[in-house]
């Protein structure tokens, strides 16, 4: 199992599938503390990525992620568009031209993605945003990669599980960034949609490698 261009294509394809499948769920989550569009935005964005993949096949994982960044940036809109756009762009840059990604490189790419989101959105952990999925994911991936015991699949799994737990952890939080922050305390008791879509993306990475 190697993380190469094939894997990247499969990952993005599974992302598109996941967004289509969870479109309504993400809309419902956003309906509760936002403006009911997150599922629609993500679905539209990844359908566009899928269309691009149909046009030409990227040569490297980095190229695939760069194409994804540009597409999400121009098709998603809202807060999620620029944030995911930046995340994929930074990850692509971190990966460079490598044909294959090793555990450390993947952890580094996730770190770059997370830092990109924070740089753009200025959210901190606990602000009830996608950062609350990404930060634990990065930490888990880094730990798995550094431990040396995990193969690349193990790193993907660690990141996905941590992101999922991170998404769940947003439930009691009071939002301090993004649209949900307007609700103040009323935002508590709901899961952040962006954290959930982030976990879906990281879970799809596992599926593509399995």
């Amino acid at each position: 199992m190697v993380l190469d261009a094939n894997w990247a294509v499969k990952w993005l394809t599974l992302c598109a599938q996941a967004m289509a499948e969870h479109r309504v769920e993400l809309i419902e989550l956003d309906r509760a503390i936002g403006d009911s569009d997150h599922g629609e935005n993500m679905d539209r964005g990844f359908q566009a990525v899928l269309a691009k993949l149909g046009e030409s096949t990227p040569e490297t994982p980095g190229a695939a992620l760069k194409m994804t960044a540009m597409t999400l940036m121009s098709k998603v809109g809202g807060a999620a568009g620029p944030l995911y756009g930046t995340a994929f762009l930074r990850a692509a840059t971190a990966l460079g031209d490598s044909a294959e990604i090793d555990p450390a490189a993947w952890a580094g790419a996730l770190q770059a993605a997370r830092d990109g989101i924070v740089a753009r959105g200025k959210a901190e952990s606990g602000d009830k945003t996608m950062v609350d999925a990404w930060t634990p994911a990065v930490d888990a991936a880094r730990a798995a990669a550094d431990g040396g015991s995990a193969d690349v699949l193990g790193v993907l799994v660690a990141a996905a599980e941590a992101a999922e737990a991170g998404a769940v952890s947003t439930d009691p939080m009071i939002a301090r960034k993004g649209r949900a922050s307007y609700l103040g305390e009323r935002s508590a008791g709901h899961r952040d949609p962006g954290a959930v879509s982030s976990a879906l993306i990281l879970r799809a990475a596992v599926g593509a490698a399995a």
Binding site: D35, S36, D37, G77, G78, P82, K177, G178
Partner: protein, 333 residues
Amino acid sequence: MKKLINDPKSVVQEAVQGFGLAHAGLVTVSEDPTYITRKDAPVAGKVGLVSGGGSGHEPLHAGYVGRGMLDAAVPGAVFTSPTPDQILPATLAVNSGAGVVHIVKNYTGDVLNFETAAELAEAEGVNVRTVLVNDDVAVEDSLYTAGRRGVGGTVLVEKIAGAAAERGDNLDAVAAIGERVNANVRTMGVALSACTVPHAGTPSFDLAEDEIEIGIGIHGEPGRHRIPMENADSITNRLMDAVLTDLKVSSGDKVLLFVNGMGGTPLSELYIVYRRAVQVLADAGATVERSLVGNYITALEMQGCSISVLRLDDELTELWDAPVHTPALRWGV
């Protein structure tokens, strides 16, 4: 959900097409990427004004494209901010060389997308200034929120900054006027019912028959708090209280009073609210010098309204009165 639409996915595209057909004398529509420019853009020597945001707030922003107001509007998907690949060409299309002002409502998505577009435009040699509108007193402007939202005041910023650009003010001056308007306007809204985003298909929040949401924005988000239904005067008192306190309106102030319908409320009810708002201002010793009543910045078919109060000075009044010729706001021409 019953709507006069064909397909939730084509709502924005078809509405923009219809808009272009109806106002072909005033605007030019670019369909892909989607943006609307003033027919005679770029106007030689004039600073260009670009605004945009999610769709569903019509007539904002496309309805304000034309002489004396915006040079371009960039509509995103419903309640979703537009993307840099729309904002950038709109910016380039209206740049005459005098630079472009982006009028951006303060939402994370709008801010981020306009920020990227501005960077890209600067990279292509266009001077861009951004005026951030954040007039909503329902949201506390603190470290613990994304900051106050841009709501009703946006219309006033667009009109007045547009007039400044039209009279020939330079880039910094136009931006400064826009910021002055923003600094002097406050808004607070109420919803009697939620709206339904076409692709979502269900109302954006659930409200009982005897409840209203105080402090709503324009995206069908729930408001700051929910209270039992009250009569128009009490509701108006609440909204005015919040607005006047935050704006620190004092005796002798001259103001523009803007009662805005959220889309599904009859005009007659807006006048009932307006009536009470004038009384509240009179009690505060302020005089209403100018007014605007109607559906100018909406949230689809939401029932409710927002009240904006803008503290006027002579220059702002003069710019407000200046001729404007757009699909949704027109006078003096």
